[in-house]
């Protein structure tokens, strides 16, 4: 199944940065491009976003805005339970499996869980991850 692709999202550009930033970003992308086809696609996207301001605005309307996260109490100020790793936490794996990319860069799932854990298997909350929130330096 194909889904519509928004150029601002696809190329990691904040629409509010303006044409200059768009050009900068595409320059970087063109330097990294490996094939002519890839370069041609990038050039077309760059022209689309820079040469036609009205289309740029429409594309910006079609891109999810970069939103700041919800303000939450800092772990240092808030309840100390946030820092306690859960007894059943699987440590590094729970963190990394949660952070794994959407493009297939996933770590192998724990035995018996399979890849499709998705909604059925609630991963350990990041705030309970022992690596992130260990109260002691593991080396000591």
């Amino acid at each position: 199944m194909t889904a519509p692709v928004n150029p601002f999202e696809a190329y990691g550009i904040d629409p509010r940065d303006g044409p200059q930033a768009i050009t900068e970003r595409f320059r970087e992308l063109l330097e990294d491009a490996k094939t002519d086809e890839e370069r041609e696609t990038l050039r077309a996207a760059w022209e689309e976003l820079t040469l036609h301001p009205m289309r740029r605005v429409r594309a910006a309307f079609g891109a999810h805005p970069r939103s700041s996260p919800s303000p939450q109490p800092s772990p240092g100020v808030g309840g100390s339970s946030v820092f306690q790793p859960s007894p059943g936490s699987s440590g590094c794996r729970s963190l990394l499996s949660g952070l794994a990319g959407r493009g297939g860069n996933r770590l192998p799932p724990p035995p018996g869980e399979g890849w499709g854990g998705g909604a059925a298997a609630a991963p350990t909350p990041l705030r309970l991850d022992p690596i992130l929130f260990s109260t002691r330096n593991p080396r000591n």
Binding site: H64, R102, A121, T135
Partner: protein, 430 residues
């Protein structure tokens, strides 16, 4: 060396962690609802973050972290739009559009709900104006004038309606689920306006206010897109009918050619334009069969369109519209009367034709004829025991028949029979 995290934990770390959590919730939310469709961009996690700024959203987010996604889904689907900040509306509009894309093939009605809410979110943004205007200004810089920026904002919701129109038009002929979902959403645009807080009724007022103007433009555009989609679907049928007419095979081919139109009628959820189209198109072929007394063929031709005719008659009875179709509907009911298999049905359909169009000459003539036959049957049935009640009944029927068509030959015959009938009744009494 021991250290505690709270001494080195920075606001940036907290922000990053929150964003990662939001992204993970979004990912799980998407895989919960639409696992087979590519997920939205990670920036869509802002939806979760902004939802969590309200108390109900915070609770829903907390549930989602624990693996319970329904509260968050419910908020996304039902939270009142006028309580949401513009940036959240923006996320919501885009997220729900993607939900609609993901679901329209399997569940066009659910997709229509998502599209409707997405459109409502756009309309709410257009209504608030400032957010979209600021975004457009930041994006376009000096390249667009204030007028052009304003137009971009005003057109934001119209662009969505146009996209729905394209989907509806592209798939209407093949009656795809995507097109059905778009078609259905276009029909529900007033509902989206109301959800966005736009007054649909005031949209018809003169002169309209700015928000009413938005509602008016969006509703008008949706109507025009629906018409275009229908025209696109009906055009090949009209062409085929014209070709058949040119070939001289209209009465033979009409049934086959018009069948897709009746299917389209159901697909469009009983659109009046399809009813009018079918009645317009079937008329010539039906008359051809009628003139040739090909009753079985006529019956077969009009049988599939009975529900359409009935629906249009109902519209006329309820709203006295469309006025231009009174006679056409009455014609169809006359055809139905003429192909009915019992005299009772014939009279009932002819009466219905006259109730739709009281001055319809054909309906008057055929009903007169049926009433005369009915009177003759009554007189035949009462051959041995004729009473005043029988005579009065026949006289009343024939008086009605005479009022409809005084020059009817059937009426002359029935009247002659009535004289003899009355004589018999008189003889019996003496």
């Amino acid at each position: 060396m021991a250290y505690t995290l709270d001494r080195m934990w920075r606001a940036e770390d907290e922000a990053l962690l929150s964003r990662l959590e939001d992204e993970r919730i979004l990912e799980r939310l998407w895989s919960f609802v639409h696992p087979a469709y590519p997920p939205p961009h990670a920036r869509a996690a802002g939806l979760v973050a902004l939802m969590a700024r309200a108390e109900s959203g915070r609770a829903a987010r907390a549930h989602a972290e624990d693996g319970e996604l329904e509260p968050l889904t419910r908020l996304i689907e039902r939270a009142p739009l006028d309580e949401l900040e513009p940036e959240l509306l923006h996320h919501l509009a885009l997220y729900l559009a993607r939900v609609a894309d993901a679901t329209c093939d399997a569940s066009p009605d659910a997709a229509s709900d998502a599209r409707l809410r997405s459109l409502a979110a756009w309309l709410a943004l257009t209504r608030q104006r400032a957010y979209l205007y600021d975004l457009a200004q930041a994006v376009a810089g000096a390249h667009l004038s204030p007028f052009e920026l304003g137009r971009a904002v005003d057109d934001a919701a119209l662009d969505i309606v146009d996209a729905l129109g394209r989907d509806a038009e592209q798939g209407a002929r093949g009656r795809t689920n995507r097109a059905r979902s778009a078609w259905r959403t276009l029909a529900r645009v007033p509902e989206a306006c109301r959800a966005a807080g736009l007054d649909v009724h005031d949209a018809r007022a003169e002169p309209p206010g700015r928000t009413e103007e938005v509602a008016r433009r969006v509703m008008a555009r949706a109507e025009s897109k629906r018409s275009l989609a229908l025209e696109s679907a009906l055009a090949p049928i009209a062409e085929a009918m014209a070709d058949a007419s040119a070939r001289g095979s209209l009465s033979g081919d009409a049934l086959r050619i018009l069948r897709p139109a009746t299917t389209l009628w159901s697909w469009t959820e009983y659109d009046e334009a399809v009813e009018r189209f079918v009645i317009d198109q079937v008329s010539d072929a039906a008359w051809e069969l009628y003139r040739d007394n090909r009753w079985d063929d006529l019956r077969a031709l009009i049988a599939p369109i009975h529900p359409l005719v009935d629906n249009l008659c109902k519209r006329i009875a309820e709203h006295h519209e469309p006025m231009g179709y009174l006679a056409s509907c009455a014609h169809m009911l006359v055809f139905r009367a003429e192909t009915a298999t019992t005299l009772g049905d014939q009279i009932a359909f002819a009466e219905r034709a006259l109730s739709v169009c009281p001055s319809h000459r054909n309906a008057q003539i055929v009903l007169c004829s049926y009433l005369c036959r009915s009177a003759l049957h009554t007189m035949d049935r009462s051959a041995f025991f004729v009473g005043d009640k029988n005579v009065a009944e026949v006289e009343a029927v024939l008086a009605r028949a005479e009022a409809l068509n005084a020059s009817s030959k059937s009426l002359e015959e029935a009247k002659r029979r009535l004289v003899a009938f009355k004589r018999r009744a008189h003889r019996r009494q003496t």
